[in-house]
Structure formats: structure tokens, C-alpha cells
């Protein structure tokens, strides 16, 4: 009888130790290779809904010195409070790609997101990518500009949404050109949109929309331009006096 108990006990022990080996739910990923450069493949500069996953996954490439994809490099993702990644870290696939689904935080605005990997010498490589969450006004601005403005201001012309960007005598500015738009304050932009390019000594190819769009629509378009501009727009008057 005691022998049976002993056998049972040993059996239980074996099972328990076996279990304890499997207990950690997600064993830490081990990098099997390392690259020397990180690059965005797709999924950056997306416009999402606050608190919701972005429509497309964020895909980054881990490359070696020759620019070829490296398999098995560990990439970790991090971002500001409220941003979630699924998965938060992953090994690159045979093309050197790592894909993650990004959920932005609950407030509207810009979310700088970082992908980190280590190179052969153990030095951390950082890649910063911007994602955006549109609040009501920015979403309205996105829709308004998509209907009226992107017909000329969008550098990408698709069969579904044709843009005349490449055909104009004076090239329009894509809305993410922060170096141009950040120099214009809200009153300047309102003036250009309402009264057309000539109001600010710019091209007459930019028509006046003041009688077509409401004041709220124009404000919304400006809010959208501010959200997507790269480098980011910094509004005056929001600077800390001390610190």
C-alpha cells in the first residue's frame, strides 16, 4: 500500500514539476539574429479612432548592412500611456518584417510610437513612427478635406479618389508638410481657404472656399492639417512659463 502511495506521490511530483515548467504563460522571446537598421514598411501615419485599433497593422523591417531582411531579430514596441500593441514584442519573419496591431489612446492627437531592436554590438536601435487619433473636429476636417481639398492636395491619386496633384502648374502642398503649414497661423490658413491663394499672394489655382464651406468646416480642416503635419505643429501659448 505504501509503495503505491509512494508511486502516486512521485507521479504527482513529476506532473507538478512538469506543470511548473509550463507555468509562465509567455516565455520571453529570444532573438536568434540581429539587424543593423530598422525601417517602416507600412502602417505609419495612420488616422484612427481614439481608443480603437488602427485600421492597418504597423509593419517594420529589420535589415542588415546590405539592406536585406533579417529573420529572428527581436523588436519591441512602446508608446505613450494608453497605447497598446498586439503583440508588444515579436521576432522578425523570413522577410525581416515584424507586424503589430496598434490601439491608440482614448484622447485625440498624435501618438509617437517606438520600435526598438538591438544590433550585433548590443546597441539599441530606435525607430519612431507617428500614429494619429482623430477627435470629432479632426475627423470632420478629414472628411471635408477628402471631399474638397484632396482632389488637388493629395500626392497619391487612386482610381477611387483621383487627385490632380501632378497636373497643376503650381504644385499644391500636401497637408503633412509641416515645414510649410507650421509657418502659417490659423488666421493665415483661414484666409487662404476662405479667400483663395491670391489672398496671401499665393497661386490663383487655389480657389476661395469661404462661400462653400462653413466656418466650422474650415476650422475642422485646419485642425486636421495641424494633426497630420510633420514635423508636428506646436500652437503658440501652450508653453510652460517655468520649468
Amino acid at each position: 500500500m505504501t509503495r503505491y502511495l509512494l508511486i502516486l506521490e512521485m507521479l504527482a511530483l513529476t506532473i507538478c514539476t512538469g506543470c511548473s515548467h509550463h507555468a509562465p504563460p509567455a516565455p520571453a522571446l529570444q532573438a536568434t539574429a540581429s539587424g543593423s537598421a530598422l525601417a517602416v514598411s507600412s502602417g505609419d501615419k495612420q488616422l484612427g479612432t481614439p481608443g480603437a485599433p488602427l485600421p492597418q497593422p504597423l509593419v517594420v523591417d529589420v535589415n542588415d548592412d546590405q539592406g536585406n531582411g533579417v529573420q529572428g531579430a527581436l523588436v519591441k514596441f512602446s508608446g505613450p500611456d494608453g497605447v497598446r500593441f498586439d503583440p508588444a514584442e515579436a521576432l522578425s519573419d523570413s522577410n525581416g518584417e515584424v507586424s503589430t496591431n496598434v490601439t491608440v489612446g482614448d484622447s485625440s492627437g498624435r501618438y509617437p510610437v517606438e520600435a526598438i531592436t538591438t544590433d550585433k554590438k548590443g546597441k539599441a536601435l530606435h525607430l519612431e513612427v507617428n500614429e494619429m487619433a482623430a477627435g470629432y473636429q479632426e475627423m470632420l476636417g478629414y472628411q471635408v478635406q477628402r471631399k474638397y481639398c484632396s482632389r488637388c492636395h493629395d500626392p497619391n491619386s487612386t482610381p477611387e479618389q483621383v487627385s490632380n496633384y501632378d497636373n497643376l502648374a503650381v504644385a499644391p502642398h500636401s497637408f503633412d508638410q509641416g515645414n510649410t503649414f507650421n509657418k502659417l497661423d490659423d488666421a493665415d490658413l483661414t484666409s487662404i481657404i476662405s479667400h483663395g491663394g491670391p489672398a496671401m499672394n499665393l497661386s490663383a489655382l487655389m480657389p476661395a472656399y469661404g462661400s462653400t464651406l462653413s466656418k466650422a468646416d474650415i476650422r475642422a480642416v485646419i485642425a486636421y492639417i495641424r494633426l497630420v503635419s510633420n514635423p508636428p505643429f506646436e500652437a503658440p501659448g501652450m508653453v510652460y512659463a517655468m520649468r
Partner: protein
């Protein structure tokens, strides 16, 4: 024995000595009195107010912010809406636009919205408990009848409580409502809106009355088992039927099918239907006609590169040759109204010479693997009877017309107030979050997991579509029924306008309103025709109906050529030119030609310089590169001068939502531009084609 004696003595002493008693009572009273102010002093909201003051102290506009700051509990009270919101007690910066950059909650400013906080309060949109003064009490309370906060990703749902027609700033809500209406949800579920109207479905499920003429039992069986394996875009959901159920339903549908009535005017005799005889040249000719007839405006088909290309108004046609019977296809292409009087498909007037290659092309599009593994024995009466019972149980007649099966009433739960469904009434699946959005999301993704035996079918929505649907459902709240009536924006009354008379019959036959909206009724993939008679010249319209050419170079969806006969064209032209006029435009107020050359030149000058119309339009196709708006090379032969003048003065007054900007043009400029544009008659060949 000593101890109780002692106690009795001390109590006795206390009550016998009034001074001691008074002292003890005073102490107790003081302690009790101190509880309230202490509780208040250490309250959560007071701590937030202290943090807020510290934060605004170091900001540039701290003086202004301090002036606006009032300590204590803040409250928005809107008696008629039942709103008592104390949120601003902690959310102190909501109305301070200069705190837009503050990311530390609860102090940031509210993102700009078109409403005032003081007018609507907070909980109308965000839910939660407005009267609570603790964080968890306000945000996360799930005690009946409390509602926890609405997660940010479903925020557009709150707009939908009052706004029942699409808003430009709420694309997710609009998409969700379109999905509710377009995927058959509203055929089983009722959704009543606060103004007494009911949401109506927009999908177009085919009748099954003559189904045996159209397709085989094997195809029906395979389709019932998995519609999406036939076409990923199929809106028919998967009812997760067992093999026996699919066998019996398909048996019943075939047995129940009635022969299709003979068409009134049989098409000209065509060669015997025999797909094996189709030559490659025939098929190529049919494919060319498929392109020329712009079938792809409504139907998608997999192309040689493997991409599914085309519209979604009609079913996908990949593999169509393995789905429909040749005899049915011939009858359908000859006149679709014979099979389905309510179809959206126009009656193309293809000649028999055109019909044969088109049929050969469509029949060459096969997908034999779909029914390859379906082997059905002949149906027994028992199976047919069981099939009828299943058709009743699954509510097939909610969507499809089936002979002898009536539409069931109250088949599925009413969803008019689903957005306020109390959590206590929900049976959650183990492991899921106990929130209403989580329930709705899970229900949309895996409806049968909740209770075994549920009839709700399995859809294949993408995560974005699930979010959109959940948003549209969360907008259907109790509050939208109880809030002040004046907050409710009216649902636009749907128009059921149909043209009358002989032209009306012809336009119904051509299904013009599948694509064109007329007087508020119809599709939105082609221009609204309500003012067409005021806008175009008669000769142009006649030419266009004879040979529709595109006015906009970049459009994918195009008007098909219907092969109208001369009398038919005359009926349509007459009707459109006389009936579809708007009072703002007097066609005879301005001549269509004969403007002085100087005025034309002046118009040309301002066309290219002041107004830079060439950004979007082309007058000279050799130099102008405006691909956005209509091509204007022959506009003087197309539009009336009165229309052009009125359009230049205010495009949106003639066509609401037009993207051409209103340039606030002076009368003189508008006149000069009209003269210039009316001079663009094109070559004589185009005008008289």
C-alpha cells in the same frame, strides 16, 4: 463577580454626575460633527482640485486660469433632460481651450465639438453617473440602473441619439447604420426611432419563387453551407446548417419553385443554347460587350490577375457559369423583370447577335469546385416537409420571397433600445468583459456562442465593421426617447417618387433610379436628375441616350448603353426635358449662342487667370490638365446658358453638396464666363453625332 459590579458603578457614577455626562456627550458630539468636514476635506475631488491649482500655477496664462477656477463642487443641471452632472468638479479644464496640450487627466480641455457643455452636460454623450463625486462611482458603476462610461472608440454612438441622418464628422456611425440596413439586420430586427419612424433595410435579397429555373439544388446546398466561399462579398450570412438541414432546405426550395411566367415579348430567336460550342472569339466578343455595357459598374468579377474588380450593387459574377442555368441566363439577360419584377437590374436591349457572345462569356466563367463534393440523392417527401419546417424556423422568408411561406412577425428581438440594455438582463459568456459594448461585439462576431440553438446566423464582419455596427447599436438608447423633443433632429422622410405615365414605365424597365436619384428617390452612384431638364440641351440629351459618353474622365462607374429604340428615346427625352425642371432656372432667359466675341474673350481671360478653372476643368484638351470636374470642351452644346450662369453664381443652390466652390462671382464675371463656355460647342461632328 467584581468586574460587573465595577462597571455598573462607573456607569452609574457617570449618569449620576451631570457635569461628567455633559462632558462625555460634548466629546461625542464634537467627534460626530467633525466627521462631515473631515470626510469633505479628504475627499477625492478636493485632491484633484489641489492638483489642478498646482498645475495651472506654472502655466503662462495662470492668472486667467486662476480667475476662472472656483473651488467646490461644480454642477451642470438641466432639469428637462434629467441631467445633473458634477463631472467638472474634477475635470476642471474642460472649457479652457489653452489646456489643449494637457494630457494628464482629468485636467485637459475638451476636444472641440459643435455643442456647449452647459447646454447638454456630460453624461448625455459619455454615459456614467453625473451626480457621483468619486472616480469609480462616476465612471465604472455597474449597479442598476447605472451605466458605466461609454468607451472612446464608440463615441460617435452618442451623436446618433439625436442625429438620425448621416453626419459628415461621424463616419463610423454612418458606416454602422449602412451595415445594419445593408446586411439584412433590419429584416429580422425592428428598430424604431424616437420620432416614430422605423429604420428600413436597403438590401435587395432575391425572390426564391422560381429558383429551380435559375440554379441547381447542388448549388443551393453548397451556397447554404457557406455563402462566403462562393463570394467573399456575399451579404447572405452563414446559418451554420448541418448537412441534413442544407439537404432538406434545398430539397424544399426546388420542390416549392414555380415555373417562371413567359415574358411578354419573347426575344428574337437565338441559336440553341450550347456553351460547348462557344469559340474563343465569341467569348472575347462577349467580354468586350461586358466591358462596353459597363456591367462592372454594378457587378464584380475576378480578373485575370486574380483581383475581384467591380461594383457591389449586383452579385459578384465570378464563376457565374457554374451557378445559373443557360436557359435562365438567356431569359434574365433578355428581360430581368420577368424573373424578378422588383430587380435593380436594368432591362438592356441587347440584340440576339449581342446576347449569344455575352452568354458565352458569362458561361465560360466557371467555378466547378464549389459543387464538386455535393452529392445529393433525390429528395423524399419527408425531407421536403422538413425543409419547409426549417425555412420557417430560420426565418428565410424575412428576406426572401418564398411561395407559400409568409413573413414571420416579431421574429427577432426589437433593437430600438439595445444601447441601454441593462447588464442584469444579459447572459455573458464565461471570460468576457461584463460590458454592453463587449456583449454586442461578441454577439456580432459569434452569435451562436451565447445560447445553443439561437437562430442568428454567423456573419463575416471585419473588426472595423463590428466596431461600426456596435457604434450604430449603442446609439439606440432609452435616453434618445426621453430627452427633450427639440433635441431630436427629424429623420428625413424617405421619398417614394416614381416617374409617371409611359415614360415612367420605360424608366422602371431601365431601372434609372437604381443609379440616379430623382426627387429624393434613387441611388447615388450617378448624377441626380431632378433638374436635368433645366440643365441640358435637348439635342445633347438625345445624343447621350443614343450613345452615352462620359463627361468626367476619371469616373469608374459609367452609364451603360441600353440600345434604346428611336421612339423610346423620344419618350424619355420629352419627359426629362419637360418634367425635370426647377423653377429657379428659366431656360429662355439667356440665349445658348450668339454672344459678342469681346465678352467671350473676357470670359476666357478670367477663366484662366482670375478663377483658374483649369485646375479642375479642361476646355482646351491640348493644354489644360484639369481631370477633376466635367470636361468642358463641348459644354456649349451640352448645357443651357441659364443653367451655367446660375451654376456659376451658386453651385450648391442647384445641387446641394456639389464640390465646385461658390466663388461669389459678380454678375458681369458670371456673364462673361457663361459666354465663353457657351462658345465651346466642340466640333460639328460631336455636336451632331
Amino acid at each position: 463577580m467584581r468586574a460587573p459590579e465595577k462597571t455598573r458603578f462607573s456607569w452609574g457614577a457617570l449618569f449620576h454626575d451631570p457635569i461628567q455626562l455633559f462632558g462625555a456627550a460634548s466629546f461625542v458630539l464634537l467627534v460626530v460633527l467633525a466627521i462631515a468636514p473631515l470626510k469633505d476635506h479628504f475627499s477625492e475631488w478636493r485632491r484633484y482640485q489641489q492638483q489642478y491649482v498646482q498645475m495651472i500655477h506654472i502655466r503662462r496664462d495662470s492668472v486667467k486660469l486662476m480667475r476662472n477656477f472656483r473651488p467646490g463642487i461644480h454642477q451642470i443641471w438641466i432639469p428637462k433632460a434629467g441631467v445633473v452632472d458634477r463631472c467638472e468638479t474634477c475635470h476642471l479644464g474642460l472649457e479652457e481651450s489653452s489646456l489643449g496640450d494637457v494630457k494628464t487627466e482629468p485636467f485637459g480641455s475638451h476636444p472641440p465639438i459643435p455643442h456647449q457643455l452647459t447646454e447638454f452636460g456630460c453624461v448625455v454623450c459619455h454615459l456614467g453617473q453625473g451626480v457621483a463625486t468619486t472616480v469609480t462611482g462616476a465612471h465604472d458603476s455597474t449597479k442598476e440602473p447605472d451605466e458605466p462610461l461609454l468607451p472612446a472608440r464608440y463615441m460617435e454612438a452618442s451623436c446618433g441619439q439625436c442625429h438620425h441622418s448621416p453626419l459628415m464628422g461621424t463616419p463610423t456611425l454612418n458606416q454602422g447604420r449602412a451595415l445594419l440596413a445593408g446586411y439584412g439586420c433590419l429584416r429580422c430586427h425592428t428598430v424604431n426611432l424616437p420620432d416614430g419612424s422605423t429604420m428600413t433595410p436597403t438590401d435587395d435579397p432575391p425572390p426564391l419563387t422560381h429558383i429551380a429555373e435559375k440554379t441547381s439544388r447542388q448549388w443551393i446546398y453548397a451556397w447554404l453551407k457557406d455563402p462566403q466561399s462562393w463570394s467573399a462579398a456575399a451579404t447572405m450570412p452563414n446559418f451554420l446548417l448541418s448537412d441534413a438541414e442544407a439537404r432538406d432546405i434545398s430539397a424544399f426550395l426546388i420542390a416549392n419553385s414555380a415555373p417562371q411566367p413567359d415574358s411578354g415579348s419573347p426575344p428574337a430567336p437565338t441559336p440553341a443554347v450550347d456553351s460547348s460550342a462557344a469559340s474563343a472569339a465569341q467569348i472575347a466578343a462577349g467580354q468586350a460587350l461586358y466591358g462596353e455595357s459597363f456591367c462592372a459598374s454594378c457587378h464584380a468579377m475576378q480578373n485575370a490577375a486574380g483581383n475581384v474588380v467591380g461594383g457591389n450593387l449586383g452579385p459578384e459574377l465570378t464563376g457565374i457559369g457554374s451557378k445559373v442555368k443557360p436557359q435562365w441566363l438567356k431569359s434574365w439577360l433578355s428581360d430581368p423583370h420577368v424573373y424578378d419584377p422588383k430587380t435593380l437590374m436594368p432591362h438592356f436591349r441587347w440584340t440576339s447577335q449581342q446576347l449569344t457572345p455575352l452568354m458565352d462569356f458569362l458561361e465560360s466563367q466557371t467555378n466547378s469546385s464549389f459543387t464538386a463534393n455535393v452529392h445529393l440523392d433525390p429528395a423524399t417527401p419527408g425531407q421536403i416537409a422538413h425543409g419547409r419546417q426549417l425555412v420557417n424556423e430560420y426565418g428565410c422568408a424575412e428576406c426572401h420571397a418564398i411561395r407559400g411561406v409568409s413573413k414571420p412577425d416579431n421574429f427577432a428581438p426589437d433593437l430600438s433600445r439595445i444601447g441601454s440594455k441593462p447588464l442584469a438582463q444579459i447572459v455573458f459568456v464565461a471570460g468576457m468583459a461584463h460590458t454592453l459594448p463587449a456583449y454586442l461585439t461578441a454577439k456580432l462576431q459569434h452569435p451562436r456562442e451565447f445560447v445553443p440553438g439561437l437562430r442568428m446566423p454567423q456573419y463575416t464582419f471585419t473588426p472595423a465593421q463590428v466596431d461600426a455596427l456596435a457604434t450604430a447599436l449603442l446609439a439606440l438608447t432609452d435616453r434618445s426617447f426621453t430627452m427633450p423633443r427639440k433635441w431630436q433632429l427629424a429623420t428625413p422622410t424617405p421619398s417614394n417618387y416614381r416617374p409617371a405615365g409611359q415614360a415612367g414605365k420605360l424608366m422602371a424597365d431601365l431601372n434609372c433610379q437604381t443609379c440616379h436619384r430623382i426627387n429624393g428617390n434613387g441611388g447615388d452612384i450617378a448624377p441626380d436628375l431632378s433638374a436635368e431638364g433645366s440643365s441640358v440641351q435637348r439635342q445633347w440629351l438625345d445624343n447621350f441616350l443614343k450613345n452615352p459618353n462620359t463627361i468626367r474622365p476619371t469616373l469608374i462607374r459609367r452609364m451603360p448603353k441600353f440600345n434604346l429604340s428611336d421612339p423610346e428615346r423620344a419618350i424619355l427625352t420629352d419627359y426629362i426635358m419637360t418634367v425635370y425642371q426647377i423653377p429657379q432656372i428659366d431656360r429662355d432667359s439667356m440665349p445658348d449662342s450668339g454672344y459678342p466675341q469681346a465678352l467671350v474673350e473676357q470670359g476666357k481671360e478670367i477663366f484662366y487667370s482670375k478663377y483658374a478653372c483649369q485646375s479642375c476643368h479642361m476646355v482646351n484638351p491640348n493644354t489644360d490638365r484639369g481631370y477633376i470636374g466635367p470636361v468642358l470642351t463641348t459644354v456649349g452644346s451640352r448645357l443651357t446658358a441659364a443653367w451655367i450662369y446660375a451654376w456659376l453664381k451658386d453651385p450648391q443652390a442647384l445641387r446641394p453638396g456639389a464640390i465646385e466652390p461658390n466663388r461669389n462671382m459678380s454678375d458681369a464675371d458670371a456673364r462673361a464666363l457663361t459666354a465663353f463656355l457657351m462658345a465651346q460647342k466642340g466640333s460639328g461632328k460631336e455636336a451632331n453625332q
